[in-house]
Symmetry: C2
Subunit: 449 residues, 2 copies
């Protein structure tokens, strides 16, 4: 059988595609071509891409194929196309940060993580749409499941492109809910590793204590495959640390030594969860039976959202000062409002907010030490809202982002409206590999073969 003609290669997951590439059953060129064909068909409807040059993507793929034929050493992502959020610098493509103020911006070098992608053999397919400066004001992307609904943000294009089979893999970033939320709304797997695992050198800075990198794919194994290649110590990112790279994929594919117990945490944001979300979670919790226990966070956690806002807005005000000073009229009202509030934050309150994080985190760590492998919680307050003027609420991500915990959303449910609904699992900081193992276990449990 000739795989290249009988099968739409864009349907392959990354792990499958990597195996087929490595076995010589498909070429990277054919895989990229299949993805480009998807883009050709659906891009007008989905609008996932800020920049794509089909010929250039194909030329990278042909180079990868040549390298393989020459018997040169290959990385784990060899020949796989990856979408890269348009706030992550690429030396060979523009990086425009979702604002006309940065139109035509061509960074002189790749972000650290893009270098790592290329070193692992990946094809940088193109740049995916971000919201304005990765904040709340939407880009052009639509939800592939229903173009009248938001894809979520800020990593809108990455989530939509993976959902629409335009790429098997994509990279996003999260300062509040910008990986988990679009992944959940678009019905893909989104994984945000622990704070400090992936270097942010060459990525648009919103907030040093909050900015984190995440990945999207169509299975747990695929997010593990991609994320593992991004983890590194980088002197240019002062929050990364020298430590062994966790074996994400290997661990993710193992059986848990004992069936995990999950803590169902509604969080103080439960009041925002809509009826579809509440019903779906009631059903899921009932289905999982003794594997889930509801856990109520102590009352002190309710202020975490306020602390997060203080930090994020003060940092937006500092990091986007130039844009605000020189191009205010080109910025959205929402972002101007954030910046203006941020300018008024006192250093004392900013640092007090930062000081809360260790206590909040250590409370959550106790929960993991206690008996729970992971926290089970909604990824979003419901399915993707209708309309494109908002990217939905990040409220179900804020606490975990603030504490730098690893989180993954699994597209295991859907709402009465037929749109995907994400199940979020959250693990202890640094417990990424086991979190992915628990996630895979949960997928198997909810969707047996």
């Amino acid at each position: 059988m000739n795989a290249e003609t009988s099968l739409d290669l864009s349907l392959l997951g990354a792990t499958e595609a990597a195996a087929a590439l490595s076995g010589g059953r498909i070429s990277s060129e054919a895989l990229v071509q299949a993805c480009l064909a998807r883009i050709q068909v659906d891009e007008e409807r989905v609008q996932a891409w800020a920049f794509i040059d089909p010929e250039y993507a194909l030329s990278q793929a042909r180079a990868a194929d040549l390298r393989r034929r020459e018997g040169k050493s290959l990385g784990p992502l060899h020949g796989l196309p990856v979408g890269v959020k348009d706030i992550i610098d690429t030396e060979d493509m523009p990086t425009e940060d979702g604002t006309v103020l940065h139109a035509g911006r061509t960074p002189p070098e790749d972000a650290a993580m893009v270098s790592m992608l290329r070193a692992a053999g990946a094809i940088v397919m193109g740049k995916t749409v971000t919201t304005e400066l990765a904040t709340y004001s939407p880009g052009k992307t639509r939800n592939p499941h229903n173009p009248e609904h938001t894809p979520g943000g800020s990593s809108s294009g990455s989530a939509a492109a993976v959902a629409a089979h335009m790429v098997p893999l994509a990279i996003g970033t999260q300062t509040n809910g910008s990986v988990i939320r679009p992944a959940a709304y678009c019905g893909v797997f989104g994984y945000k590793p622990s704070f400090g695992l992936v270097s942010r050198h060459g990525v648009l800075k919103q907030s040093r204590p909050l900015d984190q990198i995440g990945v999207m794919a169509r299975s747990v194994e695929d997010v593990a495959l991609l994320a593992e290649q991004l983890i590194s110590f980088d002197e240019s990112d002062p929050d990364t640390r020298p430590r062994p790279r966790p074996l994400l994929r290997e661990t993710a594919m193992q059986e848990p030594p004992v069936p995990p117990t999950l803590a169902f945490v509604k969080t103080p944001m439960w009041k925002m969860a809509d009826v579809q979300c509440r019903e779906a979670f009631a059903e899921l919790v009932a289905y999982l039976g003794e594997r889930v226990e509801e856990f109520k966070l102590p009352v002190g956690y309710k202020d975490a959202w306020k602390w997060h806002q203080t930090i994020m807005e003060a940092d937006l005000a500092k990091n986007f000062e130039l844009e605000y000073q020189e191009g205010r009229e080109q910025l959205s009202e929402t972002l101007c409002g954030q910046i203006e509030r941020g300018r008024r934050v006192r250093a004392v309150n900013y640092n007090k907010a930062l000081d809360q994080v260790p206590a909040l985190s250590s409370g959550l760590n106790q929960l993991f030490d206690l008996r729970y492998e992971a926290i089970l919680t909604p990824a979003t307050s419901g399915t993707a809202p209708q309309g494109l003027e908002s990217t939905g609420s990040p409220a179900f991500c804020t606490l975990w982002t603030l504490c730098g915990l690893p989180a993954i959303t699994l597209p295991l449910m859907q709402g009465a409206d037929g749109l995907p609904l994400g199940v979020q699992l959250v693990g202890p900081r640094g417990g990424d590999a086991c979190l992915l193992r628990t996630a895979r276990w949960l997928v198997d449990r909810v969707q047996p073969d």
Copy 2:
């Protein structure tokens, strides 16, 4: 010859004493007894100690001697008495932070560095006087060289105690100039390692990005001996990093591979240097000939003092909020002024100040890469000022503290007033061992045997 009777053991340097202890020629009890005798004679005049219990110090010494006689394993500081600044927690002695607001404070556990001291075999001799909350308002200590002059601050007691031979070793802290300045004024060696080498867990917090630990002794070898034992990775101090402990003492005692070239940097604070300081440095630079070249910092460095103040005052305001809210009338006017200015600092400006540090540091690193082993610069603007109402200016330390560079002051000169004048050497961040080697080279060059 019986060393214990024929020699005043308080005259021994730490390295000599360690060798005599290790060779069984003296006991720790005799050494501590000799130091206590010094304290007995001079404490009324010098006032170096916030807490000292002679019997308890002797009992620690006897326990160390017993351990030695029993052939148990011993650390490099075995039996050596060390003075510990009274903002560093000790579980067996009060830690009162130089303010009546903390009178009677008895911390439940040792600071990380005190645990390391004890593990290395040191005797915690007592707690040395600090200025008010380690800021600018003086404690009771006087300069041993002339009690009408300030000993400098904030590690006043540590510097005075070492200078007066009350201990061979002491520990201080530096957020601006609090190790280098008192060491220089009191005529001892003061060494502040690179930011992040020594854990600050259990030390009064003034400012996370600025607080650093330092040591004092009466030779380069002795500061190296003590500091080496304090360096560690500690998860409780987020600014420490796992890395090999530098071989400070071994490197310090080596000959430099080539004669070092020093960059004489006057800094934008040169206008504060008094005539004694200017003349002494002119003489030193002339004496060192081609081993020194004057280097003028680019104009951007002049704002470093302002950035430092912004960070430090905003952090004082946060970290001493409770003291200010509940005990303002017991705080000095100076500190209240700092706190009140700090409360008004905006987060945006605080973070902008922090953002300057990498650029300032990288400029200085270029200087080290260029051709200079170390920066040669005054430790203070002159000798210890007359009067006890001020601890003198930290201006010649601010830039190096802000950038987290290692610095050492050497008591190589004196003013026309007969008081000591320190020569400060500053090295590249992480280049501590070579800095100490250069320092020892300079001592030998200026004071040949």
